[in-house]
């Protein structure tokens, strides 16, 4: 049967083969390989298993990995969205994006400098940062460029997995100290309106951040899903700006400088600015707009039989909570609400589920997210 070719939707679509006898597939994207062992050797009730270990590993039958882009050292890797359940991204699968490679930092020598328009310029060791009252929050981080393959007509293809389309976003539980606590400690002056965040990687990456965000919910985090940050995600400490573009969440943070104007670094002018149709370029567009993506069924999955299948995916917005995700199985003609899995947290991946009874025919699956500000995820046309 011919597949529909609808190029107008930004939302994830899955083209379902209608032919009977379609090859069954596994959601994890891998099939168990024949071992060649005798049936008796494979029976775990007959053979002693492995002893405990100090650091666990995944089953040999589970193959999860990031997709790595080739241009080291300014490079990225994407999370396997289609292979994950729930909302948490395992720490070793959190997406990466960096502009000078992953630095090697000895935490014993680490310090965070806060200076500029402050009463008391200070340096904080990692030990100091951990002494402040801590906060743990579950937030997504997303690269500003996530999804570009689906957005640019020149790179648009239908044979992309969710990982290839939108893999530059992940969700973790982050633990750290609120930036406003640190700003109170150094005595940020009331007329300071911006601060420069600078990392200690080879790019020495800098972004200017409004002080308002610091006083709102910005964090200096040092732990990710219960353990210290992974090196590629900012070890030993990074800036986390909930809901804001990933580039501004400076990793390997070493310095915050308070000022009364933005610094106009290369990252926020030459890059990460949005040229518009009215011949201007927008800068400081920090908030990530609401998005959703169907992670199952998605290319290259096929469904083995008619009947009930749960369409599943994630939705998120930088402006607060996802309030609603709609699903269409007929290419956008009709829509129905999916269930949102508890807990629905602000500025966090939200899992949606929709029970669908497939009759075996062609279907074009779409998802559309709404957030608490009333914003609705647009189609590519919109």
């Amino acid at each position: 049967m011919a597949n529909k070719k609808d190029k107008t939707s930004l939302s994830r679509r899955a083209l379902i083969a209608g032919a009977a006898g379609a090859i069954g597939s596994t959601v994890l994207g891998d099939t168990e390989k024949a071992s060649g062992q005798s049936p008796a050797a494979q029976d775990p009730t007959k053979v002693l298993g492995d002893p405990p270990t100090s650091v666990g590993e995944r089953s040999a039958h589970v193959h999860l990995q990031r997709t790595v882009s080739r241009s080291y050292p300014s490079a990225s890797s994407g999370s396997p969205l289609q292979d994950l359940d729930g909302i948490i991204t395992p720490s070793d699968l959190h997406f990466e994006r960096h502009h000078g490679g992953v630095p090697t930092i000895d935490p014993a020598n680490y310090a965070l400098l806060i200076h500029g328009m402050v009463d008391r310029p200070m340096m904080f060791s990692l030990h100091d940062l951990r002494r402040f009252p801590a906060e743990s929050r579950i937030y997504f981080v997303e690269c500003s460029g996530n999804g570009f393959r689906g957005f640019r007509a020149s790179s648009f293809r239908e044979d992309l997995t969710p990982q290839q389309i939108d893999g530059l976003t992940s969700t973790s539980e982050w633990t750290g100290v609120p930036v406003k606590t640190l700003f109170n400690e150094v005595g940020v002056r009331p007329d300071a309106t911006w601060f420069l965040a600078e990392g200690m990687d080879a790019a020495v990456l800098t972004r200017s951040i409004p002080v308002e965000k610091a006083l709102d919910d910005a964090l200096i985090v040092y732990a990710q899903n219960g353990e210290p940050l992974r090196p590629e995600n900012g070890f030993p400490a990074r800036l986390l700006l909930p809901g804001w573009e990933g580039n501004a969440c400076v990793k390997w943070i070493r310095r915050l400088e308070l000022a009364d104007a933005p610094f106009m670094s290369r990252q926020e002018t030459s890059k990460y600015s949005d040229p518009l149709a009215d011949c201007t370029a927008r800068i400081f567009s920090f908030e990530m707009d609401a998005k959703s993506i169907i992670t199952f069924p998605a290319y290259p999955d096929t469904l083995s039989e008619r009947g009930y299948w749960e369409i599943s995916g994630i939705a998120w917005t930088g402006r607060g909570k996802i309030t609603r995700v709609e699903i269409s199985t007929d290419g956008g003609s009709t829509w129905d609400d999916a269930e949102l899995q508890d807990p629905v947290l602000p500025k966090c991946h939200t899992r949606f589920r929709y029970l669908w009874q497939w009759n075996g025919g062609n279907a074009l699956l779409m998802s559309r997210a709404h957030d608490e500000t009333g914003y609705v995820q647009p189609t590519l046309e919109q």
Partner: protein, 209 residues
Amino acid sequence: MARQIRWKRGVWVGGMSWRDAVLGIAFLCAGCSQDQGRRAENEDGSRFGFGRHATPEQIAAWDIDVMPDGTGLSNGEGTVAAGERLYEATCAACHGATGIEGPNDRLVGREPREGFPFGQDPSFSRMRTIGNYWPYATTLYDYINRAMPFDRPGSLEPDDVYSLVAFLLHANEIIAEHDVMNATTLPAVVMPARDRFVRDNRRGGPEIR
């Protein structure tokens, strides 16, 4: 006096005896009565007293940024001629012999001279250069100084950075061949695209453009 308690979260390894633990807890309790110990909001305005004062030397070692008004620029100066020699040796391998050829980011070019079509025509996305897109010349100093060349970031002396800035601004037809770039002249350079840059002033709601 208790031996200093060291962080034990899998990064540092430290230990203390049972006796030290008791003494340590006693010390902490003695401190608690004086310490407000409130949570992050610090509604009573109290500080925790963690961290150490940053000395001017420590600040100077890291405070390398340059602001649009020139604050942060080093002493030194550079010429277009010196920059051209340095560019060939240091930059051309990645950015091309004339700053156009790549394979990495294009640096040179004033086309299109009219308008600012980058948001209208996707074919222009790779044609953004210093001359047709960058709003501030000081950013060029800041970025080259901290991050270039790619494989030896932060290895250039101020005179060298000024020279490369001079060469690139000249190549982009923004300054004259004999203009010297230094802490006074660089902030005075007005980039062609400066007024095109608008801060995000969108409101929220169902549709945000």
